[in-house]
């Protein structure tokens, strides 16, 4: 498949709920690896300050299912969540991988990086002689990686971890690395955004990024643009309370300033998404989430923390 064909498939608004994008990923990657005689994408996955929700969301990937991703798309050498090795063996693998695949591996960082107190608010592992603070690990492994992918809003922009008052002094991955970081934001991330990004990196290299460093393939349009309740919005029919079938702008929906393809990609095997289950979008892919979206049930113009320039997406009409 040509690069632009693949990208078109990622972007196609009609293809969300008939699985054609996700079903295409695996065969394409396999074909590519065979044809080009290439190896799978070597990945080091560091978990820092977050809730572990992104690896959970990643486990929910369907077509390709999780085992297929591991078997056919990526070589996951180090991951606190998925690896069998423990203790010193695990750190050994981390070290050897970084050596063997220097400047070839993809670094996936899940979570924000706390800087206060020498980064001791997040320690990946320790022994009697050393402490591996996330701050130092992300800097070091980030320097020697081919690509750096920040998965989730915490890693991409600080997210809930860096929400006020942010007593741990957490920042996003891009803030401590002096290089391009691919921000696959979302709280949690949609597995298709992540697997799609990995497939793109493997086959075509760096995807096109938007002004917030996110793959434009998945974050290019606002939620509002393709929302099923959009005609209610355009006709000024607003919900009075949760459970009404009209537009939930009146109940604090952040859809108009949130870039994501939830309305057609949907979640958990393409079953549903927040507005479909009667709850307003809380803008979890935004740079200023969660403070910029809160109070979640207050209409957009009255939200306390909302700053238009922070949302990364102009209000489209």
């Amino acid at each position: 498949m040509k690069r632009d064909q693949f990208q078109k498939l990622c972007r196609d608004t009609l293809k969300g709920n008939d699985f054609s994008f996700s079903q295409a990923v695996l065969p394409e990657v396999k074909k590519y690896l065979k044809k080009e005689n290439k190896e799978k994408l070597p990945v080091i996955w560091l978990e820092t300050n977050d809730s572990g929700d992104n690896n959970i969301a990643f486990m929910n990937t369907t077509y390709p299912y999780l085992d297929r991703v591991f078997e056919d798309i990526i070589d996951l050498w180090y991951s606190n969540t998925f690896m069998a090795a423990q203790g010193i063996n695990a750190l050994d693998i981390l070290e050897k991988t970084a050596e063997k695949y220097a400047h070839e591996y993809t670094l996936v960082v899940e979570g924000a990086v706390p800087l206060k107190y020498n980064g001791l608010f997040n320690v990946l592992g320790y022994s009697k002689d050393y402490i591996i603070a996330a701050k130092n690990a992300v800097r070091w492994f980030g320097k020697h990686a081919k690509y750096v992918v920040a998965i989730g809003t915490c890693a991409s922009f600080g997210g809930p971890t860096a929400a006020r008052p942010n007593i741990t002094g957490s920042v996003s991955v891009s803030e401590i690395l002096d290089r391009a970081v691919i921000n696959v934001s979302g709280c949690p991330v949609n597995p298709e955004w992540f697997v799609g990004t990995l497939a793109h990196l493997l086959m075509y290299g760096m995807p096109e990024l938007d002004n917030l460093g996110r793959p434009a393939l998945f974050y290019g349009f606002t939620v509002h643009r393709h929302c099923q309740r959009r005609s209610y919005f355009d006709n000024n029919n607003f919900a009075q309370e949760i459970g009404d079938s009209e537009c939930m702008f009146s109940l604090g929906c952040s859809g108009p300033r949130t870039g994501a393809d939830c309305p057609y990609r949907m979640w958990i095997n393409h079953v549903s998404w927040p507005v479909k289950v009667n709850t307003p979008c809380i803008g979890c892919t935004n740079k200023d989430f969660p403070d910029g979206s809160s109070p979640f049930f207050t209409p957009l113009p009255k939200k306390s923390g909302s700053k238009k320039e922070d949302s990364g997406k102009e209000q489209d009409s």
Partner: protein, 130 residues
């Protein structure tokens, strides 16, 4: 007699970061310390927010058991606002909570516990490939 101090870090295959320090005395564990080596200060993050935000914000405490936190927050709201919720709403909550419980256990068993039970030779994984 001689005491032995063992650091086991990191413990993998769980949600979050965990390490354990153990003191052995002639093969018997006499002291054990578990440390979860990450801190975000959610108690502080929750302060000064609108009370209805709790349902969504607390779900960010943990990725694998988010509904438990969300459910606790919504019960709290019911208390504060003295809500009488309809039976169906209660059923719905229970079903959601039950499903969350299920996925939690299935995930834990198959992805997190099974590699150890299957006796896979973990330290050979890398050397076998290189």
């Amino acid at each position: 007699m001689s005491k032995k101090y063992i650091v086991f870090s990191p413990i993998t295959r769980l949600s979050g970061l965990l390490s354990a320090d153990v003191v052995l005395d002639e093969g018997t564990i006499i002291e054990a310390y578990a440390s979860s080596t990450m801190f975000r200060g959610f108690e502080y993050i929750m302060r000064n927010r609108h009370v209805t935000d709790a349902v969504y914000m607390t779900q960010r405490v943990c990725g694998i058991c988010s509904i438990a936190h969300g459910a606790a927050a919504s019960y709290l709201l019911d208390k504060i606002f003295e809500n009488e919720i309809p039976d169906n709403a209660q059923y719905l909550r229970n079903i959601m909570f039950g499903s969350d419980f299920l996925q939690n256990h299935i995930r834990h068993f198959y992805l997190f516990s099974l590699p150890i039970l299957s006796g896979c030779r973990i330290n050979l994984l890398f050397t076998g490939r290189t």
